[in-house]
Structure formats: C-alpha cells, structure tokens
Amino acid sequence: MKILVCITNVPDTTAKISFIDGDTKFNKTGVQYICGPYDDYALSRAVELKEQHGGTVTVLNVGEAESEQVIRKCLAIGADDAIRVNTEPTDSYFVAEQIAHIASQENYDLILMGRESIDFNSGVVHGLVGEMLGIPSLSPVMKLEIDGGVAKMTREIEGGKEDVEASLPLVLGCQEPIAEWKIPNMRGIMSARTKPLKVVEPVGSGLTITEKYALPAPKGAVKMIPAEEAEKLIDLLKNEAKVL
C-alpha cells in the first residue's frame, strides 16, 4: 500500500503570535514549529497501516526550508521518505494544487491529511485535493481500517458518528482517536537522517495576497466571586456586564 501523508508546519500552540511589515506578515522569530496535531494522527495511522499491510509512507509538505525540521521528525516517527514543495503556502487552493500535482504522479492508495491545520483552520485542503484528483474525500475520520481495496471508517458528524465504507484510492482528513500517539524513538531519529527528502518547485502561483492581519482583542480581567455570594454575581451581571 502506498500512502501519502500531507503535513503542515505550524507554530506551537504556546507560541506568541505577532505580525510585522505593517501587519501583513507573520513574525516568525523565536517561534517554535510543530507538525499539525491532526496531521500527526494521520501520520501515526499511516505508520500503523504500513506495519499491518506493508507498503510505503511518504510525507509531503508545501512549505519553505524551515519546515524541514518537522519533516525530519515525521521521518523519525516512521515515514520512509519525504517531499517538500518549496514555496510559501499562501492559500488553501494553492496548497491543494501542489498536493494534487504530486499525487497525480504516483498511484497512492491513500492520501491522509489532518482534519484541519491549526494555524488557519480552514479544513478544506482534503476536499479540494479530492476534487482535483477526481477521487472521494472524507473528513473528519476518527477510525480507519483497510480490508483489501476497501476502507472502513468512522466519521464524526453533527451530534454523532457515522460508519462508512469506500474503495481506495481516497483522500481523508483525520482526527483522534484514529491512531495511538507516537513519539520518535532513538532508532527512528538516527535513521531519519539518511531517509530521502526530495525538494521540488511549485506549479502555478498563489491567488491570495494578505492585506492585513489582526490579533483578537485581549480578554478582559476576571472577577472571582465566592459561590456563596450568588447575589453579588447577579448584581454584577445586571449592572456591570449588562448581560441580564
């Protein structure tokens, strides 16, 4: 089985976010990057499927050289090789185009992604890639088993779950608990160094130009009111916050 896992290189959730160049660019200095947590689940499941069924796992990232640290980590977790499309991923459509272009050159049985990136959280790249390749896409998938040429899945839907089946090839957006959480082990870290990481140039060009970023307004101060003073709380909600 050939699996392609698409990963994002995103700021750590604890990173301080700020902008530069008249608020048109994200300030990267001092920011620690991680692999998108949903992408991590996708990769972990891919590695498990490879262990069960054999095959290969290729990691794909659309991003600049700074992504390579996170890509190496994916190789350490168990991917066999990696491709980086050398460009700034300026919008979802552009990213999807790159992924579809790479995917169309090989016959992948599965293209696994996270349900959404955690920087821009659009949750659309898998849908776009499915359309571009003319194959089904499903998200968010929380359980995935492969039986011959068929994928058996559980998907989260509004207020519940749905069991679905579809034939390969497929594009899937993944989320927990699809796989066991994996950490790079020493052997993986050692072997990651020698696994191939191919860098290719993008096709086409992005459609979006960022005019301005803005941070959400800071949260107001919190007032603590002891449980026994309910009246005080009601008074504050009425007269100060004016929400009652």
């Binding site: 980590k73 020493m186 052997r187 050692m190």
Partner: protein, 602 residues
Amino acid sequence: MAQQYSRRNLDFMLKEVLKVGELTQYPHFQDYTPDMFDMVLDTAEEIADKIMRPAYVESDRKQPELINGQVKVHPAVKDYMKAMGDSGMISATFHYEHGGQQLPLLVNAANEFIRGAAHNSFVMFTGLTAGSAHLIYSFGSKELQEKFADRMITAEWTGTMCLTEPQAGSSLSDVVTTASPQADGTYKIKGQKVFISAGDHDIADNIIHLVLARIEGAPLGTKGISLFVVPKFRADDAGNYTIDNDVVSTGIYHKMGQKATPAMHLTFGDKDNSVGYLVGEANRGLQYMFQMMNEARLGVGMGGTYIASAAYYAALEYAQERPQGRRLTNKNLVDSQTFIINHPDVRRMLTFQKAIVEGCIGLLFQCYWWQDMIHGLGSDNEEAKAYQTMLDLMTTVAKTYPAEYGIKAVNEGLQVFGGYGYTEDFPLEQMARDVRIMSIYEGTTGIHSLNLLGRGVTANGGKAPQLLFAEVMKTVIEAKNHEVLLPYAEKLEKELGRLQKVTMHLLGLAAQGNNEVFLADATLYMELFGIITVAWQWLKQGVVSQNAIEQSAPTGDELAFYQDKIHTMKFYFHYELIKTLSLAARLLDTEVLTVLHEEVEA
C-alpha cells in the same frame, strides 16, 4: 501548571555555550546531525507533558504500599517506563554494541532535565535501570549482558542498586552481606539491604538487583567487596524466569518526598535460596559500582536543579498574578494592590532561584560535556585525560552544590507563595519535600566534602585544581575583553586567589598530621568551592551572552534573554559570591570548636 524549565535556556547551554554540534566531528558521534538532538528533546517533552506531569501530584498523595508482600506503584510509572523503553531512551547513551545509540551525555542530560522537572520521582526508575544495565554491560560477562541487561534497556525489567545496609550507610566498608560460592559458579547471597529505591513494584515481571556483598573469607574493608546480579526471579530449566529468588520485601519506608518511588528494606536469602551472579572479578565490586555511583551523583545534582527549576517557574508565574500590598513608594490606599513581583524582596527571591538553577545547569552540563569529549577524543588522548582529571574532581561538587542550593532555591520558591506555598493547593510543598533527599542519598554532603578536601584537591600533587583553575582563567581572560564583564572577571580572579589561599592553609593543617582538624570544616570548604565554580559558570554564560548581544544584534525576546543572563550573572556575583568572605574567614580561623578530645561513648 506553569512551564517548568526553559527550553530556550537548555538550547543556550547546548548550542551556544557548549556547542554540542561540534561533537559530531568525532567518530563516536559521527552518526548525528545537530537537528537530531532537538528531536531527542522534543521526545522528552512529549513524554513529560503526556505521561509525567499529569501524575506528579496524584502519585505523591497515593504512595506505594506493601500489602501481603506486594508493592503497588502508581500506574503511570508503567506508562512512563514503556514510553522510555520503546523510544530507546533508557540506553540512548550506551555504545551501539550494548543496544545504545551513542547519544552525547550532554543531550541526554537536557532530556533528563525536561523529564525530571515534570516528575522527579519517576526519573528514579529509569535512572536506576539505565545505571544498573550500564554496569552489567561495562563489567559483566556476555552471558549476564544477554540474560539481564538486554531486557532492562527495553524496560521489560527494571534495575536497582543495593549498597546500603543498616550498619553501612556512609561507611560502605562495613557492608556485611555475604556471598557463598556454589559448585556451579553462582553464589548464595545473604543479608539485609535498606532504602533500596524501586526495590519492589508491580510494573515489571522481574527486578534486577545489583548487590554489594562479601565473598566468604574476603579481606576487610572496601577491598573485600564484590558485585552481584541478584534477580527477583531466576530462570527455571526452560530458561523462564519463574523461580522465586528469595529476595523478600520486609518493609517499605514512608518517606518525606519522592513518594512515587518506593524505598524498600530487602532481605536476601532468608531461606538460603537467593542466587547471585558475580559481575567481573571478585573483590572489585566497589570499584565497578563507582561507575554507577558517579553517574548517579551527577543525576542527583540534576535532581536538585530540575526540581528547583520547576519551583522557580511556578513561583515566577504566581508572583506575576498575586496582588498584595503597594510599592513602598506608593502610600495611596485607593490604588489597587500591586503584583508581588514588583516588591524588591520578591524579586530577590526569584532572581536567586534563577541564578541557582541556571548556574547549576552550567556546572552539571560542563561535567557531561567533559565526558562527551573523553568519548570523542578517546581516553588515551592527553586533552581527554585532563578532562577526566577535572571530572573526577568536580563530580562531587556537581552533586553537592546543586543538591544543597537546590533545596535553598525551592525553599525560596515556596516563600514566594506565602501561606499558599505551605498548603497542598500548590505543588511547592511537594517540591520542597521531594528535593530534600538530594543532599542525603548518593553520599551525604558531609561525605562528599571529605572526599573533595581529603582526596580530590590533593590527588596527584594537586593536578586537578591546577587544571581547573587554568580553565577558569581562560574564561576570566575572555571576559576581560568586554567592558561590562571586566569587573566580574576581576572579582572571579580574586576569588581564585582566595580559594588557593584557603586550600594552602588547610593543607598546612593536614601536614601537621591531625586529619580531624584538617577535615573538620570540609563541608564549608565544599560550599566555598561550589560557589566559586558556579561563579565561573556564570561568567562563562555572561561571555557567551555578551558576545551574542554585540555580534548578532538580537531584538525582542532574544535580546531580553541575553540581558537577563547578564543581569542574573551580576546577581550571582553581588549576592552569592560574596559569601566566600565569611566562609574563607571561618576556614582560615584556627579556633577549633568541633573536634572532640575524647570520643562520646554509648
């Protein structure tokens, strides 16, 4: 919970001060690239975040109990061991041929720091397992390696070190556990061992004890001690480890801290059926055990430091959120209260903690770096020999100063919390209990101080301090190139002079032949030595920071990081280094008040 360590600071130490990437030029480390070291630390962070930190408080409140001869520990210990075994972290620093990955000890130290700050008590399990497996690989037969060590580094089995006996704590020459030779080449072990950490538990199918014992007829003292592997279960005829090896848990200590790790009283061979396997040659056991003890000593220094780090970041967070009182310059009671971080006394406490944590990291990482350089250069290399000599001298200091000052730093952290620090609502009281052991196990402060003054500084005609002082002078000379650092370089140079003067004075007392008078205040000498060498580490960090400010013009958080370093360095010199005045005064004082003329009898 607050952040518990600064990854930025660990990176600073590894990459900027000690330049860990340069180690990869040596054959021993040639399979690494520097980015792989980052990955190792990322893995440590994941284990710490996901498994260790969440169990820190609970595993303290529900301490292990001995019920019907069985010890149950917190279930997260098992998850932790599994993650460490699966990730290959237990043996990461070992040779390839011993199931390791030849990871630099320096990187491993940062890895341990991250884990220890999250849960210091869990780290005991892996530290003991790694140390005892390493001992078997270093001195045991191929058979012992394959039978035992190979199953320890995967965390299938765990290890212990069994040195202490009721009458033999500090004085290991008084060990009386016996080993009687059997016809098949094994030994029957008989005796009591006390305080054995991780000596019993329910997380692994077997526990491999490394036991110091005397073969019948062996000479008295340390020259008659041998080392044995004594498993909890030994192999049956089919090679399965099913036979109860007569190692009985006779008691569990209810301790002040580190409660997640059971400390056991073990009885070996009560039914005359405890089989041990000799490691290496007879009567060389203590010498072998020194490898594990030296590893563990640095580990204990780390313990003092990473607990102090966790306490510091907790206190820092609290001080930024707790409003209390007004600044002394503000008499206006209508103004809202200020955060306590704005009070100079609170800032003093916080800066003290930071100065201790980062200074001790400097001292400890220096020792790990020396070891890596010895591996890199090969132990026959002249430079490597010099590093070994300094390491031998400094291991005892790098155990003791961080242990003693770690305790002080955690205590100040608790103080920052005021009354809340004394309650179970915050983790400071637990940290204060946990850290207290550091100056006791792996040799008390008193014993290490005797070592330092009685042996360390005098061995080979004082070669070790000579080499060390030359190393300190290198830093002093570099620092003198920077205007900001010049006064501190001069101060440190003066302190070296003071230390030499005190040392000469004490050696003069030794020459007069009364060892008790000579060594009576060894612990104060240790403190003096520790303060001056930590000041050296601070100056070293100051030089690197000042270079960074001058050469790469950092801005924002990065600039603040380096400025903070310089500020904390200054604090260390102005508040801590000056303690040498009183220490030296006492050490040069000839009034003898603690040496008895007649021994107290029972």
